[in-house]
Amino acid sequence: MTSTSARANNNPVKVPDALAAFIPLSDYETPPTPTKDAMTRVLTRAREILRRKPDTPMITDDRLRRSTLERLDEIASPPACGPLVAELAASLADWLGEPPPEGGRRLIVMPPGDRNQVMAAWAKQQGHEILEPPARRDVIGANAYDLPVIEDGRAPLVIAALEDWFVRDLHGLALVRALLSRIDGLKRPVIVACNSWAWQYLVRAVQADAYLPAPQIFQPFDALRLRRWLSEIAEYDGPGSVRFRDAQSGDDIMNAGQDDTPHEVLQSLAARSRGIPWVAWRLWRRSLRRQVEVDNDDSAEADAPHTPIEPAANEPAGDSERSRADQTLWVIALEEFLLPDTDHALTLLLLQALLIHGQLPLDLLTRTVPEPGATRLLPALRTAGIVEQRDNGDLVCAPAAYPSVRSGLTAAGFPIASV
């Protein structure tokens, strides 16, 4: 049984009912913000505008302790983005059907923070050839002669991250121009994935939209999709079932309300994450607490039922099993990341450069940001959790901070990507 749920390039995409087909980027709509949430954000913004100095310049997450993180890894494990890989496969299956379309092109745009590299995961799963980019530093000064050899043929070719093929530098665009030109001359089908910010920049800088078709994207993860997905990844191998309860009302968040309406917490999460699953997952993780601590500063938490799930050391074995069977996690209100007020403009230039490139080593980041000394702000941004350093040393914008970073860039008038 199939359903036709999206159109791209006038071709109906048929995917199984359980999977949501990819849609044109222009059709992507951020899930709506609940009224209460919108009011809170307006008030927060007004307070931000009117006060001279921020109360707390950076977000702190000291309440989420290491033991909690370990536990969260069991209950809200890192997202494999399973639904997206399956949805991508389903969306491209017909198009790639036998025989593969000659000279066909597909462009998939992903929001920033796609650590799982959905396109690469899909390509590996399907056994398609992936065109590997050169090391980022080698992109500077590279040109058509430095392109890897690309054989033509019938088998699909996948470019998993177009943003890895350029650097916003005087000598950093020649390679991506050569690549797009080379792709244009190929008869084999080519599937390209690109970060939404990079795509916006490449359209402006190298007219990438002249070589590739209109971009497609996954359907936004609204509250319903989030409820389904978060419930799935919470089904871990441990004993008992996990319950997610709103720390304010005590509601079971995953319970369907009347008319199957998702809980307001999920609606808020969907809106805050802009329908991006990896952002939603990280925000979700940040909002989970193992037990509600009685805290004078947080009356909402103090009022909520106290349900510890960690058995006390002197607790009898039977009680221990009972408490483990009743796995309850409390969901507290989502917190906003606050960008530092110091050198606000410079901070935003750094963050914009990171979003456009996806990830950058420090020396290249310095090269793409024109103001000298901009990198002195990085330690503060890393401490705040807004910028992260990956294992290879590259710097990235933290996915959980993306909504706040995007808001900051929007308010400052920066060019903003569609998603």
Binding site: I49, L170, A205, P370
Partner: protein, 277 residues
């Protein structure tokens, strides 16, 4: 007897023109003046403050609202106060207008000309707060549009006050005319022997790789031959016009590098009289 009746008639006229001192509510007038002053003060402080801290797209709107709010408040205050002091009739209006005309014609001609030009400037908006304008040799951001004069802040952080009646006699150059951005130009003079096509492409990339670039406006590199060399101009727009000088600096610094990388070299006009011997 006739003289006495004439004096009574004149006194009656004066009574009709102005209310008697006992009739005028001075406390009410003082409250209106103080309230208007307070509201104008608030508008002049609060709106620019919100403009600088609020969303970028609302900045020009908020700054532009200051003179309009001030003019509106002044009109309301005057319309409120005049009937408290004068008996407003058509005849009285003619008397007041006649007296005012004589006073203005002799004593305050230039001042009133500036005031009228100020009202025209608020209505026609040849410049508004936040715009980047050139008055004569002075270029800067309009920071205040008063009733008599406009104040601009130059890039060297000098405030230049220009009376509005400049409107009647001079051209006023407005760089952005209410838009959120303006065109910036980086200029280079290059010795003629070079690959102009390659250099033009490189200078285009200079603008396209700037962090300050607006994606919604075109980038153009134009060149002309002059007696001093080939004159290149990169015309591009920053996403925020407040970045215009760092944007031009960025394009100039990297443009020099692009010229060098293309194997060309910049030329300069020799100093008058040549180098010192």
């Amino acid at each position: 007897m006739a003289d006495i009746s004439k004096t009574d008639s004149a006194a009656a006229q004066a009574d009709q023109l102005m209310r008697s001192m006992g009739e005028i509510n001075f406390i009410k007038i003082a409250l209106i003046v103080a309230g208007t002053w307070g509201l104008i003060f608030l508008a002049r402080r609060l709106l620019p403050y919100l403009a600088e801290r609020g969303p970028s797209r609302a900045r020009l709107f908020l700054l532009g609202a200051v003179p309009v709010a001030r003019l509106g408040l002044l009109i309301v205050a005057i319309c409120w106060i005049v009937p408290l002091i004068f008996n407003v009739t058509f005849q009285n209006f003619l008397v007041i207008a006649g007296a005012a005309s004589v006073a203005i014609g002799f004593a305050f001609k230039d001042y009133v000309s500036s005031l009228i030009a100020g009202i025209v400037a608020i209505v026609e908006r040849p410049y508004r707060p936040g715009d980047w304008v050139t008055f004569g040799d002075d270029y800067g951001e309009v920071v205040n549009v008063g009733l008599r004069a406009v104040a601009i802040n130059t890039p060297d952080d000098n405030v230049v006050t220009v009376p509005h009646d400049t409107l009647w006699t001079s051209n006023i150059v407005n760089g952005n005319d209410g838009a959120a951005t303006l065109q910036c130009v980086a200029e280079f003079y290059v010795a003629p022997e070079h690959d102009a096509i390659a250099l033009r492409a490189a200078l285009t990339d200079v603008a396209l790789t700037s962090a300050f670039l607006s994606f919604d406006h075109p980038v153009n590199v134009v060149l002309t031959e002059t007696p001093y060399g080939t004159h290149y101009k990169i015309r591009a727009y920053p996403f925020d016009m407040r970045d215009q000088f760092v944007f031009i600096s960025d394009m100039t610094a990297r443009g020099k590098h692009a010229i060098h990388a293309c194997g060309a070299h910049q030329v300069t006009a020799p100093a008058a009289g040549g180098p010192p011997v």
